[in-house]
């Protein structure tokens, strides 16, 4: 006997599940139809490749005909012989993320606050700041490699030279490569700015007026109204920023030695995954690395979510 409740079906067995699924289908088939393009897209372009790469991670697979099961050999190699390099690429990636994520958040936030002012021509400023975002990554990589050309004839070095500053190696020397990549990443501040702007526009103007009447100055209004009410967007940008930083691979376009940079200073985990797959022809190992990266991102994202009590949700 199945006992129907408003929460579903109680009483065990396969029949109960089938009955429950049938009933759910009758009730919500139209909804499923509406979301089916998305579901199918995710199944084909996300779920299937994920499962495929998980399987590959247990195989010795060269992208061609070599496809041999090798158990956990890829993972043993990762934490054994290749550990030094794996630690290096994760170290580089973390360092890049730790510096570039907060830096990008803060600067794009300040930029958004600035272009949120009611001043003449502000729309043009918004457009100019956003413009770099629409330039493809490869193109901006090439542009920046020209700007940061390490020769004394490089654009930035010529500029620095006018102030008597000796030319920098930028991407070409180990000591300056990571810092140069972080600076280059600021090129995309406009993307974050637009999101901040949307958040700032949603803050009720009445709150500012009330605060002004109560005598709150610019800074008090900023720290007690603007910042708290934009924490949901801060949180969103933080999560996507962390994920984006962990997947950074734009150095492949301009860094020497196949995107590794001098002394592996720009060698990020995503670049290593690419190199292992397409240079070393080791798709199995690349898949194993990709899954470890996925787990690391999942843990970092979970930690971010677990510590999100500072986010204003409107329930407070």
């Amino acid at each position: 006997m199945h006992k129907k409740t408003d929460k579903g079906v109680s009483g065990g067995g396969k029949d109960a599940v089938v009955t429950f699924l049938k009933r759910e289908w009758r009730m919500s088939w139209a909804g499923w139809m509406f979301i089916s393009p998305l579901v199918i897209g995710i199944a084909i372009f996300t779920a299937y490749p994920m499962v495929q790469s998980l399987i590959y991670s247990f195989y010795n697979y060269d992208g061609g005909r070599l496809f041999e099961f090798n158990g956990i050999a890829n993972f043993r190699y990762m934490f054994g012989l290749d550990f030094e390099e794996v630690a290096k690429v994760f170290g580089n990636t973390f360092l890049y993320g730790i510096i570039s994520v907060p830096l990008n958040l803060c600067l794009s936030y300040l930029l958004a606050v600035l272009v949120n002012q009611k001043i003449h021509g502000v729309k043009a400023f918004r457009m100019f700041y956003y413009l770099p975002v629409v330039i493809p990554g490869v193109v901006s990589g090439v542009i920046w490699s020209q700007i940061m050309d390490p020769s004394s004839q490089g654009v930035l070095n010529l500029f620095l030279g006018r102030f008597g500053i000796p030319p920098s190696g930028f991407f070409a020397t180990a000591s300056t490569a990571l810092a140069s990549a972080i600076v280059m990443n600021l090129w995309g501040l406009g993307g974050g700015m637009v999101l901040w702007l949307a958040a700032l526009k949603n803050i009720p103007a009445g709150l500012y007026e009330a605060a002004r009447i109560d005598g709150a100055g610019v800074f008090r209004r900023f720290f007690f109204i603007t910042v708290p009410l934009s924490t949901p967007m801060i949180f969103y940008n933080l999560v996507t920023g962390i994920i984006g930083a962990m997947q950074t691979n734009h150095t492949m376009v301009f860094a020497s030695d196949g995107g590794r940079g001098p002394k592996d200073s720009l060698y990020f985990i995503a670049v290593k995954i690419y190199n292992e797959a397409f240079i070393a022809k080791d798709f199995g190992y690349a898949s194993a690395l990709a899954w470890v990266l996925f787990l690391v991102i999942a843990v970092l994202t979970a930690i971010t979510f677990m510590t999100n009590k500072w986010v204003y949700t409107g329930d407070d």
Partner: protein
């Protein structure tokens, strides 16, 4: 609770289904017959009249398509009802793109390859073993293989010394591309300034040595500086391409540097150190830039020399104009000196429809025939033919339009042509990463700080670079 259970069940079902699909889809998409198949090289009138379409996979470079289209015109005179269709295989990595096509069961009948890419194709068993065809042709004509330049022909063999897997269509070697505007002026200037140490005006000639080359560089540096084209302004002399495999390995080989003895990596030897020192001497004298500085910019007319393949003659002639010429790569270490060498060519896909296999061979055989080679040359192939009877650039079409250049450089002392083999000791799938690791090694050798001659400082010792390289090579082969 029930909903959670159902969700988990659905997820598991999806996961297991996807696992099964992925697992099942890994079945081989074709059978390679090895050398055990019937061939027919004697075409009858009926064979010549057959109707068929052959697909030829080529790189994204339009040049290769033009060559195939040209040779297809000649082939049509023999087989009027056969259509040759080119399939452009584009992507960042040609081998990976071919892999994808094999997995998708969408492979052309004939596949373009270079000798470098052929290792992967042969080890993956994509190419048909052509030995049965070669044997059949040899039965008809005992000198069949002797028609072809031996150094080029053997590059189409497994490990350069086995069964034939692809047919080289031409040969290509590293030469020195010159901008004579600078070299002539530099020698003249040097001889005015240093009459006691005057350089012969014909010092830049085929077979010139590394010492000759360095003397010319010294003259060039002095001349450039006198014109205000200093190192601090990023004006270097030579675009070296030392991290590019054909140039890199010819340097190592010429210096008798050993990379591997088959069981272990033996990079730590006198030849390697000498090679590294040669490169560093050029950097420290301001002849070439290091990794943190730009190159000489030969293409734009700023550099005096460039080491590159002879197949680029048309391109650089177009860039440099009347001041353009070529000469052999400098001979290092006397008789030990070698020049990087390679061959582009075509192989037959092992999974080709059996009904088209003989026809595909006929097409390959036509490409390397006298007529086929002339068609290729007239379509723009300006590198030495693979045929012995077309080596004379004064009469063969491949020399046409460029006979005012020193084309002898492309065929001078063919015994010096060299293709690296150290990676043959290891699985073919490791070849690319091993070569890439060697390039990284040279890159580290060339890592300097400073931008002025006299202030340059190497970032790493040669010994530490060798140690790091050997460690990485061992790591890659150990997996």
């Amino acid at each position: 609770m029930k909903k959670t259970l159902v969700a988990i069940l659905l997820a598991l079902t999806t996961f297991v289904s996807a696992f099964s699909v992925v697992g099942c889809s890994r079945k081989d998409s074709f059978d390679n017959p090895g050398d055990d198949y019937e061939v027919n090289v004697d075409m009858t009138d009926e064979d010549y009249q057959q109707t068929a379409t052959l697909t030829v996979g080529v790189t994204a470079d339009p040049y290769e398509t033009e060559l195939i289209n040209a040779v297809a015109e000649g082939f049509k005179l023999l087989f009027p009802n056969v259509t040759i269709e080119t399939v452009r295989i584009s992507g960042t990595d040609y081998v990976s793109e071919v892999d994808k096509r094999v997995n998708a069961k969408n492979v052309p009948d004939i596949i373009y390859t270079s000798e470098s890419e052929s290792f992967s194709f042969i080890s993956s068993e994509y190419f048909l073993n052509l030995a049965p065809y070669i044997n059949a042709e040899t039965k008809n004509n005992a000198d069949y293989e002797k028609q072809f330049v031996a150094e080029a022909w053997k590059m189409g063999q497994e490990n350069y010394d086995g069964d034939q897997y692809f047919i080289p269509r031409s040969s290509d070697r590293i030469v020195t591309h010159l901008n004579t505007k600078y070299t002539d002026a530099a020698i003249e200037y040097w001889n005015e300034q240093h009459p006691d140490e005057a350089l012969p005006t014909d010092i830049i000639k085929n077979g010139w040595t590394w010492d000759d080359f360095m003397d010319v560089c010294a003259a060039l540096r002095e001349y450039f500086d006198s014109q205000g084209w200093t190192v601090s302004k990023g004006r270097y002399l030579v675009d070296h391409t030392f991290t590019w495999a054909p140039v890199m390995f010819s340097l190592f080989k010429s210096n008798n540097a050993s990379i591997s003895d088959g069981t272990s990596f033996t990079l730590d030897n006198e030849g390697t150190v000498k090679t590294a020192e040669m490169i560093r001497e050029m950097i420290e004298k301001g002849y070439i830039g290091h990794t943190a500085t730009g190159g000489a910019n030969y293409e734009n007319g700023n550099g005096a020399m460039l080491f590159h393949s002879s197949s680029a003659i048309a391109k650089y002639k177009g860039y440099i104009g009347d001041d353009y010429d070529i000469v052999t790569f400098p001979v290092i270490n006397g008789d030990s000196g070698v020049f990087g060498f390679g061959v582009p060519g075509y192989g037959i896909f092992a999974g080709i429809d059996e009904a088209k296999r003989d026809l595909a061979w006929q097409f390959l055989n036509y490409i390397i025939s006298y007529e086929g080679q002339e068609y290729l040359a007239m379509a723009g192939m300006k590198t030495p033919s693979v045929r012995e009877d077309l080596q004379d650039y004064n009469t063969a079409s491949w020399g046409e339009g460029y006979r005012d250049l020193n084309l002898e450089a492309t065929v001078w002392e063919p015994e010096r042509n060299y293709g690296e083999t150290f990676f043959l000791n290891y699985p073919a799938s490791k070849k690319q990463i091993l070569v890439s690791t060697m390039s990284s090694f040279v890159n580290e050798i060339m890592t300097y700080t400073g931008t002025e001659v006299g202030t340059l400082k190497a970032e790493y010792t040669i010994e530490s670079c060798i140690e790091e390289c050997v460690k990485n090579l061992n790591k890659y082969i150990s997996k």
